[in-house]
């Protein structure tokens, strides 16, 4: 192994861990991307090191993106971390945010094989999608027992959502006192995660999001379906 290749591989790794973009159009990191895509040894080293750290690497549109692998305690977010990040107190609020993020994905993607040509979404579009998705549960909401409201269930999410006013004031602030506020809170978080970009009232999906959505869901669909079916519940929550 050449010393120079090892140095390059470590450089790529540190830039990626720092949250920098390594791609064909990434300014200072172009040469690193070139090394990754043309030098088999560098490619191999980077992938091996990331594998050992349980970090997944995806290449999309000539750019590299990384994300923490399953159950990665060192680099992944826990529910507690995310609650802190989003300023939430309890898990059910966090699950509502997860639900909103998922609905934002469905605004752009129907399945992982390709996006549906929606260029951008607005807060009202997302609100409509969430309303629509929870509608059949909201319609069937009857008197819930205390136990049910405390549990993390879709009924709880639907009830929380239906209890919120659409918006409390004209300018939408990222606070959890209205539907629009919740969505804004989530959108701000997604922007901070470099998954979305904002232009006035329009929110666009960034390449990083596309890379992860198209690759992650595609390659993990079997495992994800198992989790959805409840077979891996214990492993899934870390």
């Amino acid at each position: 192994m050449e010393e120079r290749n090892l140095d390059k591989a470590i450089d790529i790794l540190t830039r990626l861990l720092d949250g920098e973009e390594v791609g064909r159009n990434s300014g200072a990191n172009v040469s690193l991307y070139e090394a990754y895509s043309t030098n088999a040894q560098v490619y191999d080293l980077v992938n091996r090191m990331l594998n050992r750290m349980n970090i997944k690497l995806y290449e999309y549109n000539y750019c590299l993106y990384i994300t923490a692998g399953d159950n990665n305690q060192a680099f992944g977010f826990s529910n507690g971390d995310l609650r802190k990040e989003l300023g939430l107190k309890v898990n059910r609020e966090l699950y509502l945010c997860y639900f909103i993020i998922y609905q934002i994905i469905t605004c752009f993607y129907t399945d992982s094989s390709g996006y549906n040509f929606n260029e951008y979404v607005k807060i009202e579009d997302i609100m409509e999608t969430v309303d629509y998705s929870l509608k059949h549960i909201i319609d069937n909401l009857e008197i819930l027992t205390n136990k049910e409201t405390e549990e993390n269930s879709f009924k709880t999410l639907a009830m929380m959502w239906s209890d919120l006013p659409a918006a409390t004031e004209e300018s939408i602030r990222a606070v959890k006192n209205s539907k629009a506020g919740y969505i804004k809170l989530v959108l701000n978080f997604l922007i901070s995660q470099k998954l979305m970009a904002q232009s006035e009232e329009r929110y666009y999906l960034k390449d990083r999001a596309r890379a992860l959505i198209e690759n992650y869901f595609e390659e993990s669909k079997g495992r994800l379906y198992e989790i959805i079916q409840g077979k891996e519940q214990e492993d899934a929550a870390y």
Partner: protein, 516 residues
């Protein structure tokens, strides 16, 4: 009070306007209601006057406005003939059919009189009559021709029967008519309506795209119908826009010529209307070309969607809506973690939380403690591998010891070779390949003499412990006492590869042991 005022205002002030608006429907219902039951003793009652009215109106629109020519009676007659034969399968003599056509035409023209409808105008406190014609006649070069009236076009337009094909075209035709009659104000309204239609088509384009994205098969059908309609319109539309622009130019020239002898104020008002109309038409044309470019985009996108869909049908992909439905069905909210968390960046900001510091200082309980659910279950009985081994060894030893003791009871002395034969006889040949047997011999050879009674009192070696266990269950061998005499160089051959030293087993008295 205010509400009541508004209501009364609606009822009184606007009544005339409302009646004006609905008057265009009146001739149709009057014609449709006036069945053919009375004529010729109901011979033609099978004919639907409503359908015939609509068909004839469409025919007039086509001739007058699309082909820009007046209709002669013979043309109407031949058109109606096709309708009667094709749709009502009417087979009558030529003379009789001519009579029928004339009768129907008379009805459509209301015997030359306008269709009139009386109503009360609450504003003026008097009865008024509204009049309307569907078809009007004029004489050109001593020949009688017919044209459809603008009200009749408006009526046809409102029924939206030809909307899917070209409502814009009909609006344009109406516009030509209005410019012809110098009704520029009405023309502006029509162009605005055209613009609204174009906007609707633009919105429809987005709908088509949305359907395509969601369901490619359904979307493809809608897309093809939409593109088909749109492309059909474009040629016609452009021609009509051009014609209307020319008409406006002519109207402007005419207005300039007519300037003399007219009041200034009226002239300027008219010019103003013409200019506004021209502006609106230009806007409409711009919007139209915008729609055209949007359609081109749509074609490209549709092609790409269809291509992607073809590819995706070949490989199984993760369906987001299906996944969400499954989660809801199972009520598995936690599964969302596995779907969302991997999309986030690395969590590299590891900081010691200040909240935790505070908690440490004040020893506060956490805001929400997550409870652990303890499920009750039965403790499993674990058996370790060495326990299994021990059990096996002890079982084998028991069998061998029992056979040995039995043989000792029967015989005074025997060799290992003879004992082996006994073992083979009782346990099969495989016993000599069992490692436990040789372990047993090794353990047994640790001592020369064994007295069962002594073993019972105090087991000394591992072998004696095994014997002790057997004796606990069976006490027939209490008197047994035996010794082992190694036979030096004599060996017992077990297999080709294996041989062991022979041993003599000999039963002795207890006294003999004491002597030693």
């Amino acid at each position: 009070m205010t509400e009541e005022y508004i209501m009364m205002q609606d009822i009184i002030q606007e009544h005339k306007e409302r009646i004006e608006n609905i008057k265009k429907y009146y001739p149709f219902f009057k014609l449709a209601d006036n069945s053919l039951l009375q004529w010729k003793e109901g011979k033609y009652s099978c004919l639907d006057m409503g359908y015939i009215t609509m068909a004839v109106l469409r025919f007039f629109i086509d001739e007058n406005n699309l082909k820009d020519k007046d209709v002669a009676y013979q043309e109407y007659e031949s058109f109606l003939h096709t309708i009667l034969v094709r749709d009502f399968q009417l087979k009558v003599a030529e003379e009789e059919e001519k009579e029928l056509c004339a009768y129907l035409f008379d009805k459509l023209l209301n015997e030359g009189k306008p269709f009139s409808f009386d109503y009360f105008d609450p504003k003026d406190h008097q009865k008024k009559t509204i009049r309307m014609k569907l078809i009007e006649s004029r004489i050109i070069d001593s020949n009688l021709f017919y044209r459809i009236t603008s009200e009749a076009i408006e009526f046809y337009l409102d029924t939206k029967e030809i909307k899917e094909e070209s409502s814009i075209s009909v609006e344009q035709l109406l516009l030509s008519k209005l410019i012809d009659t110098q009704n520029f104000k009405g023309g502006i309204e029509v162009v605005k309506r055209i613009n609204r239609e174009v906007n609707k088509l633009k919105l429809r384009r987005n709908e088509v795209l949305a359907i395509l994205s969601a369901d490619v098969f359904e979307g493809k059908k809608v897309y093809e119908a939409y593109i088909n309609d749109i492309t059909k319109w474009f040629d016609e539309e452009q021609r009509l826009f051009k014609k209307n622009s020319e008409l406006i130019e002519k109207a402007l020239e005419k207005a300039e010529l007519d300037k003399k002898g007219k009041e200034n104020a009226r002239f300027f008002a008219m010019m103003d209307e013409i200019y506004t109309l021209e502006l609106e038409i230009k806007k409409a044309m711009y919007k139209h070309s915008e729609l055209l470019s949007l359609c081109t985009d749509l074609q490209l996108q549709a092609d790409e969607i269809v291509k992607k869909s073809k590819l995706s049908t070949l490989r199984n992909s993760f369906d987001f809506n299906h996944a969400m439905n499954q989660m809801m069905e199972k009520d598995n909210v936690e599964a969302m973690e596995a779907l969302i968390l991997p999309l986030l960046q690395l969590n590299v900001k590891k900081q010691f939380s200040f909240v935790l510091t505070e908690n440490l200082l004040s020893m506060k309980a956490e805001n929400q403690e997550e409870t652990e659910t303890v499920t009750e279950g039965e403790e499993a009985a674990y058996v370790y591998e060495d326990e299994l081994e021990e059990e096996r060894i002890s079982g084998n030893f028991h069998k061998i010891v029992r056979i040995l003791f039995e043989k000792l009871q029967r015989e005074q002395a025997f060799t290992l070779h003879q004992f082996n034969e006994e073992l083979i006889q009782r346990l099969g040949e495989r016993v000599l390949k069992n490692a436990d047997y040789y372990t047993f011999l090794v353990h047994m050879c640790q001592k020369n003499t064994y007295s069962v009674r002594e073993i019972r009192q105090k087991p000394d070696t591992f072998f004696e412990e095994i014997v002790h266990e057997i004796l606990e269950r069976k006490s027939d061998y209490d008197e047994l006492c035996f010794r082992l005499i190694p036979k030096g160089e004599e060996t017992v051959k077990i297999t080709e590869m294996l041989e062991i030293s022979d041993i003599q087993f000999e039963k002795v008295d207890e006294s003999w042991k004491k002597e030693i």
